[in-house]
Symmetry: C2
Subunit: 217 residues, 2 copies
DNA sequence: GTCTATAGCCCGATAGAC
DNA sequence: GTCTATCGGGCTATAGAC
């Protein structure tokens, strides 16, 4: 009897297919949770979306709630990756704010479903997510606020209420994903395009720089 | 045989009790829909909240969807009643903007569940509400935008992009209701108080006046 | 890993007694 | 107007064949 080593290629392929299906499930779940909320989505909906049976979902994820948590975790990964502009440009307020606003608007444009899953969870009072927000979002936000306060001490910025400024920036940029359907109704077009995002960026940056910088443009 | 007129008092009382229960149902439904979304709430939840049976809800409202529509309709009544500041002070931009921002923040503070029901519906893509938004919200917003454009023509305001400015104001003020749980986490307190709303009002008004007015303060 | 089958429960809505 | 009873179906999750 000879030892047969499992062919590596087959292993990789199987693992690839497993990861691809897992990825597809997470993407479909994200889109559905974004639109209908946790309670408005059934495992059957998600399974049909990816062309498998709901029982198979419970093979990859131990429960509906754990699938949802995995979706939220992935959403937070993406969200945070767009949020590092301020601390990365802590030497220049104008550049930092420009990159921050541009980045958050790009997140709304490129990842609208991530944004809406997050919005749904927050509107619900973060029942399943408070700890992860405390652990991951809060430090990032507090680092940004600290940078603002340092700028104020150095005299390069007016002493604004940095926490509330972050709320304004956060809400305004996120609106272009979460409330897109209403913004479209107001603008009278079926969906937002590049020019709408550019106009939003111009206005928001203008508002923030006028408020924050000590010198006029 | 004498004609007996039904006692008026009893009529009024019965009608009062009917209206009170209907009102209680709508309030409970609003709170639950706000937190869990349409699909996350059952008629049984709502009925238990008001101390009756779900079959009784279907006596007052013909279906779950019609109950939800009634909730949305009432939410819009309240929402619109806080939105008339700009057109009512069309002669003075600074007063109009001050009253508008104060009003929208007061709405977020006094009617957080109305705000969140509305947010849930918009995040979902307004599946049941697009027509009513077109009929009732859009004219109000477009009237506000027209006022801004007139101000710009008259030279009392800089020519801002009024539609996007409305988005910023709308999103920023509404955030203090819809995203309160996250703002609380950032501020490190269990709930928002009067001083938080005052700080938000100061910052937002400051930002908008710096952006909109032609002369400096 | 994917399938069928099914347990056990909750859902919206209806029927009919009182 | 409120009650009990119930229909038909969808839900999450599990069991077990292959």
């Amino acid at each position: 009897m000879t030892l047969r080593v499992k062919p590596v290629a087959a292993n990789v392929k199987r693992s690839d297919s497993r990861e691809r299906l897992e990825h597809d499930i997470l993407e479909a779940a994200k889109r559905l949770f974004a639109v209908r909320g946790y309670g408005g989505v059934s495992l059957d909906h998600i399974a049909r979306e990816v062309g498998t049976a709901k029982q198979n979902l419970l093979y990859y994820f131990s429960s509906k709630e754990s699938l949802y948590r995995r979706v939220l975790h992935g959403v937070l990964d993406v969200w945070l990756s767009y949020m590092e502009a301020i601390t990365h440009h802590a030497d220049d307020p104008e550049t930092a704010l420009r990159k921050y606003i541009a980045g958050k608007l790009r997140f709304s444009r490129e990842h609208p479903f991530d944004s809406r899953v997050y919005a749904n969870e927050v509107v619900s009072g973060t029942p399943l997510f408070a700890q992860e927000i405390k652990d991951r979002v809060l430090p990032a936000l507090q680092a940004d606020i600290a940078v603002f306060n340092r700028w104020a001490q150095q005299g390069v910025c007016r002493p604004v209420d940095a926490a509330h400024l972050m709320v304004v920036l956060w809400a305004s940029t996120q609106a272009y994903a979460d409330y897109a359907s209403q913004i479209c109704l107001v603008l009278g077009k079926p969906e937002l395009d590049a020019e709408d995002f550019a106009a939003a960026e111009r206005l928001l940056l203008d508002m923030v720089l006028r408020t924050v910088l000590t010198k006029a443009d």
